[in-house]
């Protein structure tokens, strides 16, 4: 029996759930331990639906919708694990790896990388598409941190954290299409930035080894993406 008047019934993967309206499908799934793969989602900053990993099928909707940006509605029937979705998740992962120069063996984030975890989860054994091998820079001009564009997957988590949480807006995205790059100020070296506060939040937000602190070696990297949401909550409370 529905004991809360303000909840709505939905079905996810044949599981009947009563959920609060106003939540996104992703939030509901995370609360109910239904696995949804994500890359650009970071709790605490706005969702943009860019990585397309969290796509779900909704009965009666002929398009696949991203779970992170779609709100639940009453009597929604959602599927998160059909063959089609699994196939597309695999292709997306392959494209992530083929886009830039990801070499786990020499990466500082080896073992602590969300992209690497994603590869394991979708069962990636090889990449069927040709690697694009773009020419990417490694920006070491900042006194403490390094930005390695080779390992960037353009999730723009750093951009959103810097803008929404820190409020500095040091990062943004330049160009378009496959030539997009994360930039600091006028595409100048990070170390010369006039807006960066060196707070290091982008480092914690980054899911891969694209932003990392200097003076550490493989295995020493500690990233804490959860701290972003904690910060947001604390700032709301104004303790």
């Amino acid at each position: 029996m529905n004991c809360y008047m303000n909840t709505i019934p939905i079905i996810i993967d044949d599981k009947k759930l009563e959920v609060d309206p106003g939540k996104t499908i992703l939030e509901v799934c995370r609360e109910n331990e239904i696995e949804i793969l994500t890359m650009c989602h970071l709790k605490g900053v706005l969702d943009i639906g860019a990585c397309r990993l969290c796509l779900v099928e909704i009965e009666g909707v002929n398009k696949l919708l991203s779970a992170c940006t779609t709100k639940v509605a009453a009597n929604m029937i959602i599927r998160t694990n059909t063959d089609r979705i699994k196939k597309y998740q695999r292709i997306t992962t392959e494209l992530f790896f083929a886009e830039r120069n990801h070499v786990c063996a020499v990466c500082v984030a080896n073992g602590k990388c969300e992209l690497q975890d994603l590869g394991y989860k979708v069962g990636l054994d090889h990449i069927r598409y040709p690697h694009l091998f773009p020419q990417c820079e490694v920006d070491t001009s900042h006194p403490w941190y390094v930005m390695d564009h080779n390992r960037c997957i353009m999730c723009t988590r750093c951009v959103r954290v810097c803008n929404e949480v820190e409020g500095a807006h040091n990062w943004d995205v330049m160009n378009r299409g496959h030539q997009v790059r994360v930039i600091s100020d006028f595409n100048s070296p990070w170390g010369e930035s006039v807006t960066c506060t060196s707070c290091g939040k982008c480092l914690h937000a980054c899911p891969t080894g694209a932003i990392w602190p200097k003076a550490i070696v493989q295995g020493q990297l500690q990233k804490n993406p959860g701290m972003i949401n904690e910060l947001v909550e604390k700032r709301k409370m104004k303790l």
Binding site: D172, I183, E192, V194, C199, Q222
Partner: protein, 187 residues
Amino acid sequence: MDFELPLFLFNKNAGEFYMKSDTAVPVKDMPKTDPRMKLIAAKLKKESFKPDALIEILHTAQNAYGYLPKEVLSYITKALHLPPSRVYSTVTFYHFFSLKSKGEHTCLVCTGTACYVKGAQAILNEIERGLGLKAGQVTADNKLGVQVARCIGACGLAPAVVLDDEVQAKVAPEEIVQKINAKIGTL
């Protein structure tokens, strides 16, 4: 042993570091007497310094200078109180804005579908053969720049080439170099 991140440390050299950055973006060097700058200033005033008018103001600047010099960009950035990266990301997103000078004279080859079907590639090949310029390149003396456009909407006149601001209709590949030379010679 895990490495603790030096997150909230205050860097003693930070002050010095920021001063260095200010010279990297030289706002004070702006020639305020330049009539083109006055044009931009007037536009900024007209749009009452609203950040959402960024693209309109960039249009004005692009038209005045032919490209967007860094000094002008930082002037606009300061005037609108926008983060520099936000301005730069907008500038690089749109085809219209250019960060480099496009040359005194421009030769714009339309590569829209209609022009492509009718041989825009042959024109580009001919320009490369005759003048040694590929699309997007500028001659060493900055006299002529060759660009391509995704449809200028003159499909009835395909293949079309725009020399400076004049549309040349139904251009035959063999006459393009001659037309360009005539243009540069006379001006």
